[in-house]
């Protein structure tokens, strides 16, 4: 297929001095460059968060281990959770959204390019602020050290009484700052999708990727704001003598939990919806069929968005909210399983009757389907409040949410990396290394997270730096730790593949996958202006219509 799109050759830029090129990157407002900045930032923090996880797992490899002190361990799990959620998964998803949304809807950039840049740098600064907490040396009173209050920072552990020094403040401020960045990005995504679609692309004709990110952005606005409010309240308590969470003055520790989880639960849907978006773009292309049930997928997404705002207290079943309140949150949580299950069935139906090609992106998405199914089902188990009274705050919960975030989100994300890498870099990755990454990571993931459920069932709580022998937890913890090294190997292969292919890979062309959405109609990588002329579309798969003029989608939609 020849391309008429005109691309400015990039060779001349390679000869400008490095300072000029760096300056261009730092001052860019181009959505594609900001997207890549988000992604690289996230990959750096993925390595850091991964090291933190490795330290945790080495400490827990056997009972009464002394690899690190309890103080260091408590900082490790706090930093691991906070880093992974706020400075790895959110940025990388914003990065893909920023890069792809304008291209998929036929626009030249996001609605507010400067707001886009501001949001990125706020997020970036938040991460640096969090890690600046390490600079304060141990023993310098008040100088701070990494926060050790857990990523959900329950009150009153975070009050000045129990968290002396400034480590908690670094946690609070880092999230406050990056929260403004998240809200800015969310506003930008919504404005872009609602206002910048190319002619003919009604909301009913835009890619599911756009729909899922639209709902995600709505959730960010409604969820991150309560966290912002709670952080302000915490700062008022810590610095202005306020009593929001001061139980000695009649304040409520439970109120922090409510506010945090009103953020915390929709947050996990913020994380998973873009993963659904990746799957919804990749699975159809590699099954050679359109997504099954587009309207139902949209409806299910919107339903998930709404219901997700009403389930938060399933994180608080053990707190003592009373039987009636517990019962309400059981039903709301179970309800959200229905649209989520519908999505799995629609992906299954997309593959059904297709011609599946097992390229690396598809391998990761197939694993995503199996793993997300399992993760969702352990979630249903946890939604049963009495069962939660046993399983909550144990390693079963840790296994569940890592199954979602690693087994679901990270796998779909790897699929997305391989799928869109040719578009972003213009080069093809090594399929052999891609498959090696897949198998290494799959083995490691299952070793670690399948077996992690068992200590939870045997009574092992979370956030403990060591454990007693004789509880039956030892062997399982050993297996869990071994899996980490396979995952690490997989990630190293992945990064090596990206780097090597970026510089030495074969040219990919504009449409290496024979796909159907607008980003594949322009060059790889796209020119700064994205499209030589703004396209106009008549169906959900404009490139299918062009490639099959005798049988366009517009006839059937």
């Amino acid at each position: 297929m020849s391309t008429d799109a005109i691309a400015i050759p990039r060779r001349e830029l390679a000869s400008s001095p490095i300072v000029t090129r760096l300056h261009e990157w730092v001052t860019t407002v181009d959505h594609k460059r900001l997207g890549i900045l988000y992604i690289i930032y996230a990959l750096v923090f993925l390595l850091i968060g991964g090291i933190e996880a490795t330290v945790i797992r080495i400490q827990l490899i056997r009972p009464h281990n002394d690899f690190v002190s309890p103080q260091v361990f408590n900082r490790m799990f706090t930093m691991h959770g906070t880093t992974m959620i706020f400075f790895v998964v959110m940025p990388v998803l914003f990065g893909f959204a920023n890069y792809l949304i304008p291209l998929m809807i036929g626009a030249r950039d996001m609605a507010f390019p400067r707001l886009n840049a501001f949001s990125f740098w706020m997020t970036a600064f938040g991460g640096l602020l969090l890690y600046f907490s390490l600079v304060g040396a141990n023993g310098l009173y008040g100088a701070g050290n990494a926060p050790d209050v857990g990523w959900f920072a329950y009150a009153p552990l975070t009050s000045r009484t129990f968290s002396v020094g400034h480590s908690t403040d670094f946690w609070t401020l880092a999230l406050l700052v990056s929260g403004f960045g998240s809200i800015g990005t969310a506003i930008n995504i919504i404005a872009t999708i609602l206002c910048m679609r190319c002619p003919g692309m009604t909301l009913a004709k835009m890619p599911l990727f756009a729909w899922l990110n639209l709902v995600m952005a709505g959730l960010v606005i409604l969820a991150v704001s309560p966290l912002t409010a709670a952080q302000i309240m915490l700062l008022v308590d810590r610095y202005l003598g306020g009593h929001f969470f001061d139980t000695q003055a009649g304040g409520s520790a439970v109120m922090w939990m409510h506010f945090f989880w009103i953020f915390g639960h929709p947050e996990v849907y913020v994380l998973i919806l873009p993963a659904f978006a990746f799957a919804s773009e990749i699975i159809p292309v590699f099954s050679r069929k359109p997504i099954f049930g587009y309207s139902v997928m949209v409806g299910a997404t919107v339903a998930i968005g709404f219901i997700s705002m009403s389930v938060w207290a399933h994180h608080m079943f053990t707190v003592g909210m009373g039987a009636n309140v517990n019962t309400f949150f059981v039903i709301s949580t179970m309800a959200i399983a229905v649209p989520t299950g519908i999505k799995i069935f629609n992906w299954l139906a997309t593959m059904w009757g297709g011609k599946i090609e097992f390229k690396t992106p598809m391998l990761f998405c197939i694993a995503f389907l199996f793993q997300f199914l399992a993760a969702g089902l352990t979630g249903v188990m946890l939604s049963v409040a009495p069962f939660n009274w046993q399983l909550g705050n144990s390693y079963f919960v840790i296994a569940h949410f890592h199954y979602v975030i690693v087994g679901g989100i990270l796998f779909a994300l790897f699929g997305a990396f391989y799928y869109w890498f040719p578009k972003m870099s213009g080069k093809m990755y090594s399929e052999t290394l891609g498959k090696l990454h897949f198998w290494l990571f799959l083995i490691g993931f299952h070793l670690t997270f399948d077996f992690m459920h068992i200590p939870g069932l045997l009574g092992m709580p979370r956030r403990i730096y060591t454990y007693e022998p004789g509880r039956g937890w030892d062997t399982w913890n050993l297996i869990v730790t071994i899996g980490v090294f396979f995952q690490a190997a997989g990630i190293l292969v992945f990064l090596g593949n990206l780097l090597w292919s970026n510089f030495r890979g074969e040219a990919a062309g504009s449409d290496p996958w024979d796909a159907w959405t607008l980003e594949w109609s322009t060059t790889s990588p796209p020119p700064e202006y994205n499209f030589s002329t703004i396209p106009a579309v008549e169906s959900r798969r404009p490139l299918w219509d062009l490639k099959h003029p005798d049988d366009p989608d517009s006839k059937y939609e």
Binding site: S69, P70, Q71, N74, D148, Y154, P156, L157, T161, T247, Q248, G250, G251, S252, A253, V254, R288, K289, P290, S295, T318, V319, G320, A323, T327, V330, M334, A337, G341, I342, N346, L348, M351, W352, G353, K355, I356, E357, I366, L369, A374, L377, M381, V384, A385, P386, F387, W389, L391, G392, N393, L457, L458, G459, P461, T466, Y467, G470, R471, Y556
Partner: protein
């Protein structure tokens, strides 16, 4: 194929027995080995939930596996696109209605057990205990029986025919904690300014283990729980022993003098003496306990001495300060504590 199948069967059976093996001391905190009504109600519900969830998993897993195998692109593919199917309203309806029905069934079963466990009022013959969570130890008070102790809870066994449950009121002196003894009940949190309550009616005597299940600071990991379920007679005898103040000798021993003149009495209580501090555990009957430091070490003279000398050697980050005593003072003090039976 055959041997693989039987291998799998053996594996499944082993796992099942491994989980159900309640009496084995090897798994004292197994949630699938309930010995008290709340834990048993949860266990029954969990089997139902596991069955439903397991069935769903097997069905969908099989369908997914089938689809990636059956609909893979063959080597001799003709290069044409497969039939482009956009959706089907009937199918969508089917796989909406069935999950809704499953959810309704799960919900009804769950609501019933929530009520069974949480909508229970304390009967007249129940033992009332108040548990107060501290960083990083458990305070227990039996208000009606006039007993105060720490870290090791004693309750009477409950005959299912004539239950004598123990109702525990849960309070906190500092941050959030959680009381989790898996074989007896689900966990309930101890939150300052938010009293909670739970109940247990253990049906077999013995020692039940657990630990704090809500991150409460540096030594959250070693805030262990030990519940001694005893026959009614043994329990009554224990209560009687706990109610006695210590016998104070006419001339206070050197160890007792050290205890009362160092900062010990600021935090600890020894009933019948000048020591009535509340920040640390009540030591009146310290030697009646098997462990010290909330289960972090066994209660031997050597450990006791080490604990006073350098708590960080046993539980780094605990709130007991190192008392900076010399060897001779330590020996005397330990000897005194050893008299607190």
């Amino acid at each position: 194929m055959q041997s693989q199948g039987s291998q799998i069967l053996v594996l499944v059976c082993c796992s099942a027995t491994a989980f159900a093996d309640a009496a084995s001391p090897f798994r004292p905190t197994n949630i699938f080995a309930p010995a008290s009504t709340p834990a048993k109600s949860i266990f029954g519900l969990s089997l139902f939930v596991l069955a439903v969830v397991g069935a769903i998993f097997i069905v969908v897993f099989t369908l997914l596996l089938y689809s990636v195998v059956k609909f893979r692109k063959r080597r001799n593919d003709d290069g044409r696109e497969p039939p482009q199917v956009y959706g089907s309203n009937q199918v969508e309806l089917a796989w909406t209605v069935i999950p809704v029905l499953i959810v309704v069934a799960l919900f009804m079963a769950t609501a019933r057990v929530i009520a069974t466990v949480q909508k229970v009022s304390m009967p007249g013959n129940a033992i009332a205990v108040t548990a107060i969570g501290h960083q990083f130890w458990w305070e227990y008070r039996y208000p009606a029986l006039g007993v105060v102790t720490a870290n090791e809870l004693h309750v009477p066994v409950s005959d299912p025919g004539h239950p004598t449950p123990t109702f525990i009121k849960l309070l906190s002196a500092d941050t959030d904690h959680s009381f989790w003894v898996p074989r007896l009940a689900g966990k309930t949190d101890l939150i300052p300014n938010h009293p909670n309550s739970m109940w247990i009616d253990p049906q077999e005597t013995g020692l039940y283990l657990g630990q704090c299940a809500q991150y409460c600071g540096t030594q959250h990991a070693k805030m262990l729980l030990r519940i001694y379920v005893q026959s009614r007679d043994d329990f009554d005898r224990w209560i009687q022993a706990q109610r006695q103040p210590v016998s104070v000798s006419a001339t206070a021993s050197q160890g007792q003098r050290i205890f009362e003149t160092t900062a010990c009495i600021n935090c600890h209580t020894v009933a019948g003496t000048a020591a009535n501090g509340r920040f640390g555990p009540d030591l009146t009957h310290l030697m009646s306990r098997d462990t010290i430091a909330a289960g972090a070490a066994s209660n031997t003279a050597e450990n006791l001495r080490l604990w006073i000398l350098n708590p960080n050697a046993i539980k780094p980050g605990s709130l007991m300060p190192a008392m900076e005593l010399n060897d001779q003072e330590l020996d005397a003090l330990t000897a005194y504590l050893e008299t607190l039976r």
